[in-house]
Symmetry: C2
Subunit: 149 residues, 2 copies
DNA sequence: ATAATAAAAGATAAAAAGGTCTTTTATTAT
DNA sequence: ATAATAAAAGACCTTTTTATCTTTTATTAT
């Protein structure tokens, strides 16, 4: 569904906020390990996310990433669009340029329903809402965690 | 949502069946033009689809592509899986390997609903059902067609 | 001040997706 | 038979995605 970059960004952002809730500020090494993403790729992705203003960072000892807790919640959709554009939210299932209500492809109505559901999901869920759920359910991205005795 | 190759395959297959309903057997050139896909890429894709057994072809004068009308309808899902695998139908929204009912990620239940809807759509709709709809609605893939006076 | 730490910047590269082109093989109308 | 037609095969190329690594800059604890 999403690009790898988007998946890593979503996982990483939720992980950061989850740690922030515990008054921690994880660095790239920790994030990459916990979300099971390649270190250097993770570093590059979060560099971009900082530039976008989705997350903040501090260099040096004790540094790491954190979300501005003053800001309002960040819908997944904003993150997704910034990384991979809005094709998933506006495109035709068949990839047709001119498919819409007035000129619907044979898949249009049923596909549009699904597209709307995706839209609804990523508009209502936010990095913060998912982090809170993870916190409440003691969810961990890293599958190694729960397989230990 | 789908890879370009999948989109072209779906459009092309529906176009072939639509023409078959009119007792015609389109060739690569015609298919590529009508579905607005690159000629050589289309040729390559349909070469694969013939090997898969999804469509048949005849070489030489009067040749072209056609669907075996004896066979039962071909669900879109079969075509999609043959081309790009089943990741879309089984994968986690976050890209997690170990996400399921027993260890759900914070997006799991809402994402699973959407995934199931996608599944239902591509399992119930077939190349033939879409071709029939196109026929009934005089739908044409090629947007140039209806913009003519 | 300086040593340790950690992100930023940017160059490089492997793999996958998307696309193009030429040659070969098969078919059919004449 | 043969000329015309059209798909099959396969080599090649470009762009995008997915990484990897090195160097630089900023911060902080000592």
């Amino acid at each position: 569904m999403f690009k790898k970059e988007t998946e890593y960004a979503l996982r990483g952002m939720v992980y950061i906020q989850l740690q922030n809730l515990k008054d921690r500020r994880p660095g790239v090494a920790e994030i990459a390990q916990e979300i099971e993403a390649p270190f250097f790729f993770t570093a590059k992705i979060f560099q971009r996310l900082v530039k976008f203003g989705f997350v903040r960072s501090l260099k040096g000892k004790g540094g790491g990433f954190f979300l501005d807790q003053e800001k309002k919640d960040l819908p997944l959709k904003e993150l997704i669009i910034a990384i991979e554009g809005d094709q998933l939210f506006v495109g035709c299932g068949f990839g047709l340029k001119n498919c819409d209500e007035s000129n619907p492809c044979p898949l249009h109505y049923r596909y549009a329903f699904i597209r709307d559901e995706i839209n609804r999901l990523v508009s209502t869920e936010t990095i913060q809402s998912l982090a809170q759920k993870s916190f409440d359910n003691q969810f961990s991205f890293n599958s190694l965690r729960e397989s230990s005795i």
